[in-house]
Each structure stands twice: as structure tokens, then as C-alpha cells.
Symmetry: C2
């Protein structure tokens, strides 16, 4: 058996193929590239039983990942995050079964670790010495820390307003970190120039093909954790949408391998903020690509992406699975965040709270049925966003007593 | 097979036994109580093969945990945190093999989740309605969130200076949260009075017997992750010391069961800060208990415990395993924290950094040998402590370019 059954790269727009032995970025047509595997051979040589004694991390699926030589594996133990049942919340929402895929329980505290682990490992295998990216925070944190582990240099540019904790993570990793007094698009322009002029390896969202493969493992894990079944609905907070693209890709690959027996596909839901909802607008109009969202703003910083490079792949996944796109408002998502903590003891990130709120709203309109099985992605730990919680707390003097038990 | 093989509680000081069917706190002699199991029967009926298909969380060891009815299990998927190899750091320290048990990869972002999961589950089983505790932050965060999940009320009192993120976690959980303009000892007095007057269930460190059992699972996991072998040295940042007591208890139980074949026990190391080192002082003098450390102060807030209720159990574990106790200074542990991020991509908490620094120092004095296998506990995620990182970062205007690649 091979360590990986990766075969080549393909452009989902113009079907051009590329090799996986050299660094690749976008297709000449401008589209992101997708990774293809020899699924025919893999279906014959690999079965779920092979996973039985493997560690509970994303590398248990190495046959379906692009890294060819395990010597370059760069891992901090990421993956197999818990799929947590939420009995109290499902009752509150009147949904038969509700699970949270909790991506707060992962190195660097967000799902970005998956893309970084696989992306950095492959970059190292390809002989890359230094990578560069713009970031709204979590991606930069993950990529710079995994780069440090792989002894790669990294150049990271982030808006000054990005969450301070993610800035700390980049700084501590020893990255060449710059803040820009502007938006992620400004950071992107600065990185683009630096890539051109200094020959850095561009790991901006979807500008290298391997991040999707890391994110894909969320889909592989959900299927495995449900005994190789799929739920009825999966909700995903959507900025760049890489996770949604990846989950869809994973489930199709598992069907192709025969590991998921039915041809049922969950309805995929892209959740955005009302302050930045380009995918929702495109979906409402039945379009296959989105338009740049002017003056975007939301407390859910991770989904503040005015125009995603892979928007057409996200929209395709929504149409093909009979899913939908929905936007929620910031104030209500903060209420939902509090409700989840009080009912289930989970402190989700604002992006995750947005996805839960979307489930609630879609249930209210009966788009989600009472007997559906719903999985919500919480893409990061709530503790990374200390400024989203504002609750008045009484202060006592050392000698004081509590007047009542509460 | 029973779900649990728990039998009774025993006082390690005066050998008094108590039942496990009613709420219990300290022994009448003032000592914490320890949980005993029917290890003879368990050894006959249970083997490592039984774990093979169980989920990767701490409940895989339920036979060796105190909860008797799984209906009361209160879980957010905690446990089986990664045991991460650190090839770059081990070379830097000249140690044959160095692993980090990364307790940042767990619900609530700290190892306190283990004690809370098991403690809250058992409290629920015992019919408790409301619990109370003083906290320096992480324990309160974990217990209040797990209490929320179990639909128990909680009253939490913490110093105003405790890390803001942990305060957020408690507040968001819906706990009755109070800040005290003083130290954890002041918080403890307020909770003590409230427990007396309002009949709350006291879950202060070691005042209920089940938190140790949750922490114990770190030891069970280390042994399983190493293929039922033990390392030569385990270093643990020591405040209340519950984790160290638990790990020692776990390894002895595994030896008793015959799962660990050799009678070798790792040398256990209690790591403290120079600003609060009561265990180190006691160990240096060969004493079996510690004295209150006046005016304690350290940036590693979690190990700022001037006098631990279980100090004698910690010291016993050090003497019995030929371990030691060592203190490190705050400035050097922050340097170590940065070094770990840059060499291994791991952002550890200050307490974890203290333990790594202790390993480095013990290697320098040859207390740790070059051919030892060393495991360091990182007790929480570095992202929970945003104020420990202070690095100057250049700010660019949107139109600017990077002058060099770095």
C-alpha cells in the first residue's frame, strides 16, 4: 500500500490537469486547483477496518491526503475533534438530533489547523523554504505555528483590527509579522507584491491546492464518527468557504470508495453575517458566482470575506446538495452564543454561534424538519474572542458574604 | 461487566473508609479522601483490548472512574489529548526523547476540564443541585461550564486579577459569579461561608474526592499512548498538585491491573514558580508537608497556590518515585514559552512553559540524563493568556510594500 493515493491536480473550471510534484498555485484560467486521487485502486486496497488502530488525528486518513512521504508530516496532534451531542439545545430547537463538530478542540484553537497541517507538510515536501499569506487572524496563527514546527519561514500580514490573540500566536511563532492599517484585501495586495518580488510561496486561501485537503478531513471525521452515515443537514459558517468545499469533496470521495453506502448527501448550508453576505446574495439570485461585498462588517471576524476565490465551488455545493445560504445578525448570534453556553456548557466562537442561529431560523421556517439529524460546525474556541463577552459581575471585598446562594 | 468498579473512599492519612453513595467531602481528620476500586475483579474482567473500539475521550476508562450510571455522564468530548513528539526541542535540550502531553487541546482549553467532567458527572449522580468553589480562573471556567451542561447551578468566586478569559467562561455559563478584590484564599473564605449557610456542594480543590479521578486519566492516557509503557520522567506544573497525585494513582492502578508490565515508575517532578514554591521548599527540607507561602506572586497564575490541601500526597509521590521539586523564575519561563513556539509551533501556557524550563534545568544538572524519555505536561492553551506575549510588530499603511522578504 502507498502512503498516499494522490494522482494529480485538476481545474474544476477548465479541466486542465497539473502534476503534484512541483509547487502549484492557481490554474492558468484563474481558478483554484483541486486534488485528485486514484480512487479506483484505493477502493480495492483500503477499508474502514484499516483505521481501527490508528491514532485519533487527521493523519489516520493519509491515503486520502496529498502528502506522499510521511517524513514531511508536520503535526501537533490535530484532528478527530469531538462530535458532541447537544440534547438540551436540540430540544430547545425542536430538532430530533443535533451535533456540534467542535473545532475549538484542536491545536491553535481553530479549524485552520487542519489546512495548515496538511498545507505546510506538503509545502515542506515540495521543497518550499518560506511561505506568505494575508490573514484575518486564525489562518495566520495556524500557518505560522505549523511553519515554525516544519522549520519554514513565514511572512504574515494582518489587519490591525484582527483579534489580538491570533496576533500573539503569529508573533510568538517567530513569523515575519506585519499589521496593516486596513482590511484583509489591503493585506492581500501587500502579500501579492512580496510574493512576486521575493519569490515566496503564496498560501493565501485556495492559492495553493492542499489546504482544502486538510479541511476535507472534517467531512471524513463526521462520517466516521456517525458510523459511515451522513446527517441530513450540515451548517457551516462561510467566509472563504474552504471547509464547505472540503466537506463536500470528502463525502463524495467516501461515496466513491463505497465507505458511505447510500447515495444520500447532506443538504449543505452556508451561513454568513448580514454585514457580509455575498454568497447568500448570489444564492438568493440563483447565481453561480458572487459579487464583492462593499463595506463588510461583522463581529464574526472569520467570516468577514467580501469576495471568496472559491465562491463558485461553494455555490455549486449548495445547488448540488439542495442546500441553502442564510445570513444572521450580530446581536442575535451573540445571544445564541450565550444560550449554547448556558444550555450545553460549550463556549463557541461567534462564527459557530452564527451557524447555530441559522439552524434555529431554518427550523422555524421548516426548511429543517423536526426529524432531521443536523450537524453544526463550530469553527473555533470561544476563548479566542474575549471581547465578545460583556457581562456585569459583582465585586466583593475580602470580608464580605454572599447574601443569598445565588 | 459493570460500568464502574468503584468500591469505596479511603482516607490516606487515617485509613477511615466512607461509602460512595452519598456526597462526601473531607475525612473527619481533615484529609482529602481517595477513591478505591475493586482492582482484583477488574484485573480479571478487563483488558486493553476492550478499549480498542471506544471513542478517544477519557470515558474509555469508565471501569476505572467513579461514575456508576452512564446516564449521568457529562461530557464535551474531553480527553485523549495529543502526546506530541518534540524533535527540535529534545535536540536543543539534549534529551533522547521528549513528549508534550498537550492539555490545551481539550474543552475549556485547560486540563481542569478532566476534573470537572468526572466531578460534575458524579455530583449529578449523587443528586447535587448546586455546587460552589473559589478559583484562580481555569477550574471555575471548567466547572461552571460542565455544571451548565449537567443543568446544575454553580456559584463561583474568583480574584479580580484572574485571567479575563476565564472570567468570561464562567459568566457565559450562567454561573452565579462573584469577583473578590483579594486572593484565592479570600475567595475560599467567602465560598466556605456560603457552603455552610446555603447548603451548597463544595467542589474546592480536593474537598470532593472525584476531581482526582478525572485528572488521573492523564496518567492512563500517557501509558496507553506509549503502548502501556511509562517514561523515565514526568514533569508537572504544581499548584494544588491534583494532576500529579492523579497521575501517580493512575500508574499504580495500571501496575496493579497488570496493564503496565514492569514495576518501573517514572520519577515525578513538581515544578513551581520562584514566587510561590511551598512544595519545593518542603522537598528541599525533606518534609512531608508544606508551609503557607507568604505574598505569593507569579505570572503563571494557575500555580499560584500558597498552601495546597494535598501537599502531603504530592510530596509522598515525589519521595516514593525518587522524583524532585524545582522552582523556576517568571522571566525565564516566558523565554522558554517563546522558544517552544519557535522550535515546535506549540503555544503553551505559562505553567506549561515552567515545566519545560524545569526539564531544561534538570538536564543541565544531569538530574535528567541524555538517554531519558521525558514527558512534560502542558496544562492549558497559551491563547488563554493574551497578556503574557509582548512583541513589537511593525504597522504598514495599505499602499506600502515589504522592503525585504522578512
Amino acid at each position: 500500500m502507498n502512503y498516499s493515493y494522490v494522482s494529480h491536480l485538476i481545474c474544476p473550471k477548465c479541466s486542465t490537469t497539473c502534476n503534484i510534484t512541483e509547487p502549484q498555485h492557481l490554474c492558468t484560467c484563474g481558478s483554484p486547483l483541486l486534488v485528485e486521487y486514484d480512487l479506483e485502486t484505493l477502493a480495492e486496497e483500503w477499508s474502514p477496518a484499516d483505521l481501527r488502530d490508528r491514532p485519533a488525528d487527521l493523519w489516520r486518513y493519509h491515503e486520502l491526503l496529498p502528502l506522499q512521504d510521511p517524513a514531511y508530516k508536520t503535526s501537533l496532534g490535530e484532528g478527530m475533534s469531538p462530535l458532541v451531542p447537544l440534547p438540551n439545545l436540540q430540544e430547545d430547537m425542536d430538532i430530533r438530533q443535533l451535533h456540534m463538530k467542535d473545532e475549538g478542540i484542536i491545536p491553535t484553537g481553530s479549524f485552520k489547523a487542519r489546512g495548515a497541517a496538511v498545507g505546510v507538510s506538503k509545502a515542506k515536501e515540495l521543497g518550499v523554504k518560506e511561505l506568505a499569506m494575508p490573514t484575518n487572524g486564525n489562518a495566520g496563527a495556524a500557518w505560522s505555528l505549523y511553519a515554525a514546527r516544519a522549520s519554514l519561514e513565514s511572512t504574515i500580514v494582518m489587519p490591525v483590527d484582527a483579534p489580538k490573540i491570533t496576533r500573539n500566536e503569529c508573533a510568538l511563532s517567530g513569523a515575519n509579522l506585519y499589521l496593516v492599517d486596513g482590511l484583509i484585501s489591503d493585506a492581500g495586495r501587500i502579500v501579492g507584491k512580496a510574493v512576486e518580488e521575493h519569490g515566496l510561496y503564496d498560501v493565501s486561501t485556495l492559492k495553493e491546492p492542499y489546504r482544502i485537503e486538510g479541511k476535507k478531513t472534517m467531512g471524513l471525521e463526521i462520517a466516521e464518527q456517525l458510523g459511515w452515515e451522513v446527517p441530513d443537514v450540515i451548517l457551516y459558517p462561510t467566509g472563504g468557504g474552504v471547509g464547505l468545499i472540503g466537506i463536500y469533496k470528502a463525502l463524495k470521495e467516501l461515496q466513491h470508495l463505497g465507505w458511505i453506502k447510500s447515495d444520500k448527501m447532506p443538504r449543505l448550508v452556508a451561513v454568513q453575517s448580514e454585514g457580509c453576505a455575498p454568497i447568500v446574495e448570489a444564492w438568493n439570485q440563483g447565481l453561480r458566482s458572487s459579487s464583492f461585498w462593499e463595506n463588510s462588517e461583522t463581529i464574526a471576524f472569520g467570516i468577514n470575506v467580501p469576495k471568496a476565490l472559491g465562491d463558485f465551488l461553494v455555490l455549486d455545493a449548495l445547488y448540488e446538495t439542495e442546500g441553502c445560504a442564510i445570513a444572521v445578525d450580530d446581536a442575535s448570534l451573540l445571544d445564541e452564543q450565550k444560550r449554547i453556553a448556558q444550555k450545553e456548557g460549550a463556549f463557541v466562537c461567534p462564527e459557530g454561534a452564527a451557524a447555530f442561529l441559522a439552524a434555529r431560523k431554518l427550523r422555524e421556517t421548516n426548511w429543517i424538519n423536526a426529524d432531521d439529524h443536523v450537524v453544526v460546525l463550530n469553527t473555533g474556541a470561544g476563548i479566542k474572542y474575549p471581547d465578545t463577552v460583556n457581562i456585569e459581575i459583582p465585586i466583593l471585598n475580602p470580608g464580605e458574604e454572599l447574601q443569598s446562594k445565588g
